[in-house]
Symmetry: C2
Subunit: 559 residues, 2 copies
Amino acid sequence: MADVKSDIEIARAAQKEPIQEIGGKLGIPNESLLPYGHDKAKISADFIAAQKGKNDGKLILVTAINPTPAGEGKTTTTVGLGDGLNRIGKKAVICIREASLGPCFGVKGGAAGGGYAQVVPMEDMNLHFTGDFHAITSAHNLLSAMIDNHIYWGNALNIDIRRVAWRRVMDMNDRALREIVCSLGGVANGFPREAGFDITVASEVMAILCLATDLEDLEKRLGNIIIGYRRDKTPVFCRDIKADGAMAVLLKDAMQPNLVQTLENNPAFVHGGPFANIAHGCNSVVATTTALKLGDYVVTEAGFGADLGAEKFFDIKCRKADLKPDVAVIVATVRAMKMNGGVKKEDLGAENVEAVVQGCANLGRHIQNVKKFGVPVVVAVNHFISDTDAEIRAVQDYVETLGTEAILCKHWAEGSAGIEALSQKVVELAESGASQFAPLYADDMPLFEKIETVAKSIYHASEVIADKSVRDQLRQWEEQGYGNLPVCMAKTQYSFSTDPNLRGAPTDHAVPIREVRLSAGAGFIVVICGQIMTMPGLPKVPSSEKIHLNEQGDIEGLF
Amino acid sequence: MADVKSDIEIARAAQKEPIQEIGGKLGIPNESLLPYGHDKAKISADFIAAQKGKNDGKLILVTAINPTPAGEGKTTTTVGLGDGLNRIGKKAVICIREASLGPCFGVKGGAAGGGYAQVVPMEDMNLHFTGDFHAITSAHNLLSAMIDNHIYWGNALNIDIRRVAWRRVMDMNDRALREIVCSLGGVANGFPREAGFDITVASEVMAILCLATDLEDLEKRLGNIIIGYRRDKTPVFCRDIKADGAMAVLLKDAMQPNLVQTLENNPAFVHGGPFANIAHGCNSVVATTTALKLGDYVVTEAGFGADLGAEKFFDIKCRKADLKPDVAVIVATVRAMKMNGGVKKEDLGAENVEAVVQGCANLGRHIQNVKKFGVPVVVAVNHFISDTDAEIRAVQDYVETLGTEAILCKHWAEGSAGIEALSQKVVELAESGASQFAPLYADDMPLFEKIETVAKSIYHASEVIADKSVRDQLRQWEEQGYGNLPVCMAKTQYSFSTDPNLRGAPTDHAVPIREVRLSAGAGFIVVICGQIMTMPGLPKVPSSEKIHLNEQGDIEGLF
């Protein structure tokens, strides 16, 4: 194992091409690339607008089983598949999410892929990158400041200061800011009230930026944000505060997708990064739709496992952006199958075919779920060195019983050479025209029924439990014209159920709804099942204690 | 007046050259320029390090009389003089500060210069620019989060939670965050305590970034920040929290100066922007020292009037960075002289030579003050259309009585063609070798004597009033080894005194010290005289209500 290089060593050794050359591969002229250093660029809004009317390439979703501590490698597979498609002669573009800054200082940075399937420059992508998240933080907090300023100067809109729903955000893990009292210190500082901060990726502005089709749509959605309520419970909108225009100005550059490259010098769009629980967990619509105009194949991913990520990708992003996915790749690993089969993390090194077989139930349900959306499925078995042939064979045999193929992929160790078979299969499925994509439920289904449909059809729950207050709230929103919105489920990513310890493929469980929230700007109803943390904390020994610049000025400790 | 174009119209019509061409004029190769779009770039740390040992150009400080509501045009004159020096064949570089984002949403954005003496791209410079301030915000707040996290996990350093001195920052005008109680909501969120936010430009991290000579010095200074005190009042440092390394990583890119251009395509460094009251109010040392290696002339400015800005430039920045300014230009206007002479703003249009003469006392004292530092002085009379010949002549006659020349400058209307005479005079003074620069006081003077020296010598105060607690605090810092630091006076910029309404050249006033603060990382003692606002609020009708994108996607309402 001594010669296995770390992700950061591999990334630093990358032979990057100038970003103009990467753009050139997609036909983007230099003047339409706004460089950020020599290896990052934004694609100009003008160029994007000019692509309208061109044909779209094929859209491939990479999703996964429920995440386990063993790690599945969804992003690694997304990057690897993009490289693999390019290797077999297809013009493929990767679309992934941007990383959040805050969590990098808690545990080690989440790199963009791993091994020989990575996107670079890795350090930048884990730090400020092109400033998109900072712009979102600024836009969000401008609205917050304007709300308290409005109240300070007389509160003409009659906002109930106990019902200000719009919090503040910071791209930092800072538990001390979760719940605060602001405006203390006397008359000059306003009216004291309870407030708090979420992490930036939890901002509705993030979700909006990722769903907006252009700047005009962005501004309209920003205006639709509900910032709070009056005493009579009527909503007050962002447009009432007149913040939408300035917020759009702050987001003008951030709306333009970022172009970087893989280790194999293939184009990757890295843009947006909403939470996968209280939001939809996908990269931006603008990045995906632009990539579809420029590439023959677009490989993208969705957050968490397919029960949350793929469902939201299909029911929120594809529905709203009119996307037609052609193939879905479900990433699984032998190790994760074993954990789903009851093996502890420390025992993963030992062969255990029986546990693999047992754990496959989780994978099997995800396969069947994705097929409900009419999209052809292939399974990528992301290879680990400790996997035995018998274990791999067990996964493949199981998947075959569902009429699906599971293909062993070695992109982590070998780059695109290790993922040719999957790439060929993806092309075959995409070109077959087999996809008959449709969302799971119709727009006009009542909101509670939408929740039940997802819970029963995807989670295999027997019932959805909700207080009268939740049901009344949903009915009220329907009366107010929000009944046609999709639902955005916020539940644990570790299980089909709302109990994170229930691995495998549980059935007959109940899904209790704790709270529902209207994201009127983003355009979905958030359905909160269980505890959802929107502002993380730092661990006892945060990684930030180790992060530093070495004598050569290189960053150490971030990975 | 119908054909007078607005600043933004002029800026948008600019014929910008690619930033690589601007860099080329200073001998910066393309690979050492890190572009941000096509018209902004950072200069790489490697290139900067390689300039060591080269000869320095001449350093010109542009400062001003006490600001009045009439506007003086200090930045406009800095930009104009840079263009003027280039016009007469000198290789000149401009060094100015970056604008703060927050205040742009309160009142109209402070552009970089005005008329035909501007730095572009103007919109970017008033918004996110290259992200430096966002990086400072992140670094500052990472330390804040790590402090509360340290307390949460057991407080091994025994920080007194009532004596946490390190607040949080946001680049926003948000009075609701001035005073808060954080960590509410129960055990999981920490220990409730009083806290608050300042605006980012007030962060000590900003001052540190602007005084650090390189990344190593930056990290050392960050480590020296005092974040709070124990119950026994011993200080706890940033390095005790182990945040300095990660903060330096967050600031790595921000430490590299930004290159942009004037309307006449001359190079301008725009880097850093500390407050001119609780900090020293100058652009970064790295930008200035790098510009001195690359240009024959470097034109820079300092915040507020010369009583605050020039004094701090000389006593803090030049002292610490071993800079030797060659010439000081004091900007004055006929209108400001009239206001200092008692004329109200609405009456400025009418000729009033007598008021001009009376108001000249303010200018006169600034001239004499700057000469105390051994630096030759020339006055730039920044021309306004309403100025009469007699009024201009009155200023010039007055200045001549002090053995100094006042030169009429029309760069606002004419660009470099309007400022040739001043440019020639600046060259003459710089080349004469007349400058005998020395700071006002020696490093080893006791702290209270330093304060008295500034107050009496520069402000012409008769005494400094300070409670025993303030004097004791200063003595304690001397015992702890901080006695050799310079003092950073925080007082109103509108008067030599601490009374903002006392225009002209008041004498025999008292300077009361309300509070002293140790900025151990930046390396100065802040002396607060009167109310200093470190988190502004928004006005009743903030400019953000008007800021928006028009149908062409251009920004409206920012200027």
